[in-house]
């Protein structure tokens, strides 16, 4: 599903050049659950942003669903993104002004789905994530764990083939964290490809495979199955 070869990302500020990704290559197959680990600043988030088509690489090739997309324009990438990819962030990134229901509904609105259809889908996923009873609350009125479940609900509501999660449990206690990991595992079992950045060895154990990065390069790739 994803194949990157010699992927490069260089941040240039006035006087320093930071090589965030240094000729990185690997492949992720459909249905896989991959964890990315490494010390702070090694380029994990950068990699995830590129894989999520939010940012473009400075070099190398990026094939997504057999399509070379490294040099695609922003609007083309946006088209692919909104149909195929769901995001889960460490800080949830829910919109404070919208209710739980409205937050989850957003991706469907941008897919121009009919209101009745949206309602059905959103309610279905909210039930699955056990936050249906909170559908009319605002994010500020929820606990951290509930907020992350809403964020996961939002990421999966349009049935993406790929879910990218950047430290999804970073802001949660262990029991809430485990719940979220269980949700991701369930999704993976239903066929969704998952790429997750994490600092926790415990969480990484939920995945099939761990990619370890150091200074923008892959140092180890160990398979758990």
């Amino acid at each position: 599903m994803i194949k990157i070869t010699d992927l490069e990302k260089i941040y240039r500020t006035e006087d320093i050049e930071t090589v965030a990704l240094n000729k990185l290559s690997f492949e992720v197959k459909e249905g896989e659950f991959v964890a990315i680990m490494g010390p702070s600043g090694c380029g994990k988030s950068t990699l995830l942003n590129i894989l999520g088509l939010l940012d473009d690489p400075d070099g190398g090739s990026f094939v997504f669903n057999n399509e070379e997309i490294a040099h695609y324009s922003e609007s083309k990438r946006a088209q692919i993104r909104k149909r195929n990819i769901g995001f889960v962030f460490q800080s949830f990134n829910l919109i404070d002004e919208l209710t739980v229901f409205e937050n989850v509904e957003l991706p469907l609105i941008y897919l121009n789905m009919k209101a009745s259809e949206r309602k059905e889908k959103v309610e279905e996923v909210l039930k699955k994530m056990q936050v249906m009873h909170r559908r009319n609350h605002y994010p500020q009125q929820l606990s951290g764990g509930q907020q992350q479940r809403v964020a996961v609900a939002r990421a999966v509501v349009n049935n993406p083939k790929l879910i990218l999660a950047d430290e999804p449990t970073g802001n949660l206690d262990s029991s809430n964290g485990n719940e979220v990991m269980q949700l991701l595992t369930d999704l993976n079992e239903q066929g969704t490809t998952i790429i997750m950045v994490t600092h926790s060895e415990h969480d990484a154990r939920y995945s099939h495979r761990i990619i370890r990065l150091l200074d923008g390069q892959m140092v180890l790739e160990n398979s758990l199955i």
Binding site: G52, D55, R81, N93, I95, D96, E97, Q140
Partner: protein, 809 residues
């Protein structure tokens, strides 16, 4: 404490330079408009206040309705003043002005200067009005015939010194001795003369109560109620006017007179009201209009409010970013009142800086105001005793008014909620802010529609069919100076290439001072059959030169010997007479001799299509045209030349040869015509300036709001983009709410604009209509302006990389 507040306030303003600049500039513009309009309004309200007796002086005005014509006069008859003084002890003094033709040729050395600011006045002038002498004694100055009082600058102009007592000046060939020199009359006086001649030199048929030609002022004794005094006029009418009316009209009683649809009435106009409330003929100067004073004051206030609203909106919009500051301050022990003090200090500091900006802006735009208002105002007029406190207080008032809402709003945050990231009310659910934006655009739309209607009406005036052709007509003033040479002058001018026809006449269809005469259908002056109309003396070529159209009968012609007793009527006059075919019918007048019963008859030979000879604010009243070549004071020529300048030069050369001592003065009829609408044109210019300003300030506010909003919603925009929102999704998300507000403002403003502008147009008897497209145009314009203002910032926010904004968390 207060010093500390201001220190922190200034630091805060500096820290948010962009925000402060938008606020200060907007408020500065609003205050500048306020300052300028204050100057203007104060000047308008100051008219005639220089008179010590200002509260006791009244002008005697006459209201007349007679023979199909209605007159609201600023003059009354010559015996009126003396009669009132004789019969009523409340009248302490009276004075009359007589301005006859309105100008005199004054000899200076061997040449003549046409002086327009001239009048004859009674010797009592100086007992009524306060006109201090520089030299001579004004008490006795005008007691004798052939005496004149001049102003100081006139004395300098003619004699080089201000003390010109005893010197002689020749005006219209009559010598006058200068008996006093007075200070120049202040510009804010409803009359402004350079020469005041003795009344004894006026050649007039005195004693006629029915002939109104004198501006008459009475000075009432202290404590007299002028409204009550006005009731005495009934008595005056019965005692003096009715007997005269009986004598040369068939009137038995006032009842009979009024039953025939006529009216005769006198009123007192308080001196201080003349400039702003009087719109009669003939006024002694160009008066102002109280309506415009009200309108401009309201406009100033509204523009200031619009600017204050920006201030409030931007401050509350910033609340989200300041919430944390408030929370921390409170946790550290700040009380609510300290916070309020802090925020008020900030807004006041900003208002004070804005005031400085305003003074600078006002300084540089004052010449523009002077230009459009026709005044000479100075910024230091603001430093007067009455205005200075207002000026100093203004920034504090504005600062506190505009700052109080944000101050109470911001200081009310609960620290725990704020620090937990709750409590930020965010951007959406602020109805007050939406209301204020609606109000700003509501006002802007009113201004825009007002401007469009005013311009349409001005354009209508320019292009409507006037019944004559005002373009390419050259008018030579004071042609009477040519005496018997006038015919040969006309013929010489006709010889110039490009001159196609010429006419000598006493009147032209542009406003000037004229009087009515009474005509009658029958050989007796009966008010039932009376026709009151102006009678103009014209010549054979008048109708042709003016491009008028004879609809019935014929023009004057040399082939008909008897045309000297013929008359051509306009359609209004023909209608009042009511004949099926007026041609050949006779009408009568006693014009030739005011005190005798002898009637003169005229035969109607033609009817001319109605033409507008007064302002389009008035109906076209009856008018008669007679053939009489001796009273001509105006020579007019239809000209058609690529080089008007050289044509005028040629005319001037001929004038110089035939009347070398007399000043050559000319104008074009279309300019003279435009002069009639100077007040409207001024209002038009002022309106467009204010609309632009109002829209500008409102947009500045919008710009500030959208900038803050985009800033505040950065994270949200980032999330939405990650979730698949396109650039246009984001732009519409950010601008939609604002556009909604602008649309609501339009819907609210349209009916009010329609109502106000209809009222304004009602002033014009002949007027354009208000079309629905004007509202749509104003709507589209404001929406476009809003889209433009909001769109740029929204676009900037929409194309930002979401990765960056999400990282901020």
């Amino acid at each position: 404490m207060i010093r500390n507040y201001f220190k922190i306030a200034i630091r805060n303003l500096w820290k948010n330079k962009g925000y402060s600049a938008i606020n200060i500039f907007g408020l500065g513009c609003g205050l500048a408009v306020c300052l300028l309009i204050t100057l203007y309004v104060v000047d308008e309200l100051s008219y005639d206040r220089y008179n010590q007796n200002r509260d006791r002086i009244y002008r005697v005005d006459s209201d007349l309705k007679f023979g199909g014509n209605e007159l609201r006069l600023a003059v009354s008859s010559d015996p009126m003043g003396a009669t009132l003084k004789k019969d009523y002890p409340q009248v302490e003094e009276y004075v009359r002005f007589y301005t006859s033709s309105g100008s005199k040729l004054v000899k200076k050395g061997t040449s003549f200067i046409q002086e327009d600011r001239v009048a004859h006045a009674d010797s009592t002038l100086f007992n009524v009005f306060t006109l201090p002498a520089v030299a001579g004694n004004t008490k006795t100055a005008l007691n004798e015939p052939n005496t004149v009082v001049i102003t100081e600058s006139t004395a300098r102009k003619y004699f080089g010194v201000s003390n010109a007592i005893g010197k002689t000046i020749e005006a219209d060939k009559v010598p006058y001795k200068i008996t006093a020199v007075i200070e120049d009359i202040p510009h804010n006086s409803h009359f402004n003369f350079d020469f005041i001649f003795s009344m004894d030199n006026v050649d007039y048929q005195y004693g006629n109560y029915l002939s109104m030609n004198f501006q008459t002022y009475i000075l009432l004794k202290e404590g007299t109620d002028y409204k009550a005094f006005e009731k005495n006029f009934t008595q005056v009418i019965n005692k003096y006017i009715l007997p005269q009316a009986k004598q040369f009209m068939q009137i038995e009683s006032m009842d009979e007179f009024t039953k025939a649809g006529n009216k005769l009435d006198f009123r007192l106009m308080p001196l201080l009201k003349i400039h702003l409330h009087s719109d009669r003929t003939p006024e002694l100067g160009i008066n102002g209009n109280i309506q415009y004073v009200y309108i401009f004051s309201a406009v100033a206030l509204f523009i200031l409010i619009i600017a204050c609203i920006n201030f409030m909106n931007l401050s509350t919009a910033r609340s989200a970013s300041r919430a944390k500051e408030v929370g921390i301050r409170k946790v550290l022990g700040s009380e609510r009142k300290n916070l309020i003090g802090q925020f008020l200090a900030e807004s006041t500091a900003m208002a004070i800086i804005s005031m400085l900006v305003a003074i600078t802006v006002a300084y540089f735009t004052l010449p523009f105001l002077n230009d459009i208002s026709g005044k000479t105002l100075f910024l230091n007029n603001l430093l007067s005793v009455q205005l200075l406190p207002f000026l100093v207080a203004l920034p504090f008032i504005v600062g506190i008014l505009a700052g109080s809402y944000p101050a109470f709003f911001l200081s009310g945050f609960k620290p725990v909620a704020v620090l937990n990231g709750k409590g930020r009310s965010g951007f959406k659910k602020d109805n007050l802010r939406s209301g204020l934006v609606i109000f700003q655009f509501f006002m802007s739309i009113l201004f825009i529609i007002g401007t469009v209607v005013i311009y349409r009406q001005l354009n209508y005036i320019q292009t409507t069919n006037l019944g004559f052709k005002k373009d390419q007509v050259l008018i030579i003033n004071g042609a009477g100076a040519l005496g018997n040479n006038i015919e040969s002058f006309k013929n010489e001018i006709l010889g110039i290439r490009g001159v196609s026809s010429g006419t000598l006449s006493s009147f032209l269809p542009v406003t000037s001072s004229r009087t009515d005469n009474s005509f009658s259908k029958d050989a007796v002056m009966d008010p039932k059959n009376a026709l009151s109309m102006q009678a103009w003396d014209i010549d054979y070529d008048y109708i042709k030169t003016m491009g008028m159209e004879v609809t019935r009968g014929r023009n004057f012609s040399k082939e008909f010997g008897a045309d000297s007793s013929a008359i051509i009527l306009n359609e209004s006059a023909a209608n009042v007479l009511g004949y099926d075919d007026p041609i050949g019918k006779k009408i009568y007048t006693n014009f030739q001799s005011a005190t005798s019963n002898e009637l003169v008859s005229y035969t109607i030979i033609g009817v001319v299509k109605n033409f507008h000879y007064e302002s389009l604010k008035q109906n076209i009243f009856p008018l008669g045209l007679r053939l009489n070549k001796y009273q001509a004071g105006l020579a007019s020529f239809k000209v058609n030349s690529g080089n008007m300048e050289s044509l005028v030069k040629q005319v001037e050369a001929k004038w110089k040869r035939m009347a070398p001592a007399f000043p050559f003065s000319y104008r074009f009829m279309d300019d003279a015509f435009d002069n009639m609408y100077r007040a409207e044109q001024r209002v038009g210019k002022v309106a467009i300036t204010f609309s632009v300003l109002a829209v500008l300030i409102a947009c500045l506010g919008l710009f500030g709001l959208i900038t803050y909003m985009a800033e505040q919603r950065r994270k949200e925009i980032g999330i939405r983009k990650v979730l698949g929102a396109s650039v246009s999704n984001i732009i519409s998300l950010l601008s939609r709410d604002f556009l909604k507000l602008v649309l609501i403002a339009n819907l609210l403003a349209w009916p009010l604009a329609w109502w106000i502008m209809n009222k304004w147009l009602e002033d014009f008897t002949f007027r354009t209509n208000i079309g629905w497209w004007m509202f749509v145009a104003a709507g589209i314009l404001t929406v476009m302006i809003a889209v433009f203002t909001v769109g740029f910032q929204a676009f900037k926010a929409a194309i930002a990389n979401p990765v960056k904004s999400l990282k901020m968390e």
